[in-house]
Amino acid sequence: MSEQNPALELRHVNKSFGPVHANKDISLSVNRSSIHGIVGENGAGKSTLMSIVYGFYQADSGEILINGVPCQIDNPQSSIEAGIGMVHQHFMLVDTFTVLENIILGIEGGACLSKGLAAAREELIRLEKEYSLEVNVDAIVGDLPVGLRQRVEILKALYREAEILILDEPTGVLTPQEADHLFRILDTLRKQGKTVILITHKLREIMAITDNVSVMRRGEMVAHAKTSETTRDALAEMMVGRSVLLRVAKSPAKPGETLLSLRDLTYVDADNVPRLKKIDLDLKAGEILGIAGVSGNGQSELLEILGGMRTPTSGSIRYKGRELVGSKAFSARNLRKIGIGHVPEDRHRAGLVLSFSANECTILGYHDNPEYNRGLRLDRDAMVRNCETYIEKYDIRPPDAYLLASDFSGGNQQKLVLAREMEQSPDVLLVGQPTRGVDIGAIEFIHKQLIQMRDAGKAILVVSVEIDEVMSIADRIAVMFDGEIVGEVSAEEATETRLGLMMAGVRESTTPEMA
């Protein structure tokens, strides 16, 4: 095993799922003691590739070499033995177990647990010191914040003596500060001689931490580069295959009258947990208000209440001066009628019926409209015509109004929902996670559409966990933490650090901040 050999090398790896060629002739070489980024849009094949390395799938053809030695990886077990550790996007942890139990799962060291637990405890204390990864090994994982859970995953890999650590979209659930902390940990790992592979679609992270970067597009490896010799824009262009605007240009907002105003809005859920605590918000015509925050801090509940899917416990919502709470208009259906459109956060659960065709999905919620009905029957021709205009205008692919919603990609599904809600031209549009699971090219399009709507004098509320997105399109940004609005800043004043602190629950004092 010479020092010149790369830690991990892939040669001509191919993998198909039925007719989908997920990985086409992929070759990749990752140097030891480096951080190697792999970027690509959703569905570019990054995760499939790493699943092959981790033994979840077998490649149809191609070779995997570890330290220059060809390696047969048939299952996660053989991958672990080859020194590969993986931190999955969705943590592979048992919430009811302690940290210690989670870490030894699979390598308990004998049929009886007590000996293995004692040995693991010592080893973990050593590992925690070596990599400065403090975590209480006796804590129940379900009680830990996500940042710490991720640390447990890293420890789990290190405990298995991983030399190569693969992280799949590790920052999706973290605040910017937590992400920075993660990068410091990765830096320590690199210094200690470990090799890190970082899979992400966030270019900021690639630029911040990696040594080398590989770009994937539509199942192919399109470029390898030294991070220091490339730029964000160049990478984005390689990812999409054409030049894209990462930040959509927009003119300053011209806010008009207040359309929607919330006062003391409170929501306590069925388990008696307060999810929203006295929320005050105003939304004006001609502006985009962004709600930032780490997911699970009440944004979903807020959106679902405004969309009429939940009833608030107390407080008031006034729309054009009219009180909605307790009124007849307060239902998902009637709110749409009076001009409040809603693009739900979770398009699979609330935005579409996956087993419906595109032309059916594009009338959901508006299916009573006379233009889609002929007597008691739905007017299928009108529905299809309607859907085809959306397909044309929003460039939905494939352009087939009869295709099932489930057969569209995430980005195109989102466009179906957006088209449906935007084309009814509501006065207020609520949008949850406008670009979740949507690739860069489509993100640009969606952002442009939202800004166009704003310029047409509509009020838009955007809830997003992507801080970049909020900063790029919103005119005003409110940050939610633990069911409260911890602060509000205008887009010009917003910085990542400032928002990040608020996302972690730090309130800004009234004195001017020391930046």
């Binding site: 979840f56 592979m92 009811t96 699979g106 049929a111 647990l113």
Partner: protein, 323 residues
Amino acid sequence: METFHIIILLMDATFRVATPLVLAALAGMFSERAGIVDIGLEGKMLGAAFAAAAVASVSGSAWVGLGAGIMASLALSALHAYACVTHKGNQVVSGMAINIVVAGLAPTLAYAWFQMGGQTPSLGGDARFRSIDLPFSDAAREIPVFGYIYADLISGHNILVYLAAAAVPICAWILYKSRFGLRIRAVGENPHAVDTAGISVDLLRYKALAVTGFLCGISGAYLSTAHGAGFIRDMTAGKGYLALAALIFGKWRPVPTLFACLLFAFTDAVQIRLQGVELPIVGVIPVQFIQALPYILTVLLLAGFVGKAHPPKAIGTPYIKER
């Protein structure tokens, strides 16, 4: 002294009734902790009861009968695993199917083999588990209270009752202190975590269901070769469901489940005791009402008094690798 005597008799009956419940509930615990709903406990018990009685009557040995009961229950459990683990079938449907098939098949086979109207011949002698007297029980009876408890309550049960008593700490140890138990608990909470740790989810669930089959087999054999003396149609009479209720009431934990079983068994013992007895003020309570008591209690307990039970998170959902 009279009251004391009645209490001892009630407790004695409680233990006898609780034994199959405890064994079946522990059986269910392994299955459900591994993420497989086991509504088929009832069918497995009934199948084991039939197989044990049939084989015991032919071979003349209760132990051979017990073995047959376990084999029958294991086979049904394997069927459940094949449907739910290998083919990702609906676990409730599979369990229900087992219950229905056994409820029909056992009396039919009994009719075909023994021509006794769907029963097996009455068992006697070595074909049945007999009560065993623990050492010094006669001598101990002379000692007041403790000796009496030892001689008349602790001593004098058949071996399977003691086995059930021992099964609780053994199962608790396995679940909480062994590698197998850790993996069982993990696979019921998050099978993806188990898979990525390099352990086969399917194999693990098969193993868990094998333990379920084994314990359920003993439970069924107890009904027909220890508690009763032969198989009769529908002899489980909902005990499998009651065991499942006890498991949920016990929040899927061995010791609380034991107490739940004892509580259900105690109400059953009281129920038998109360039949036809004139109570102060209320008078004689209709026998139907008294017989319904354990079930009413079950519903009440499950409906409100348990507090929030957190079932294993992955229960009921077949494991499918994500793409």
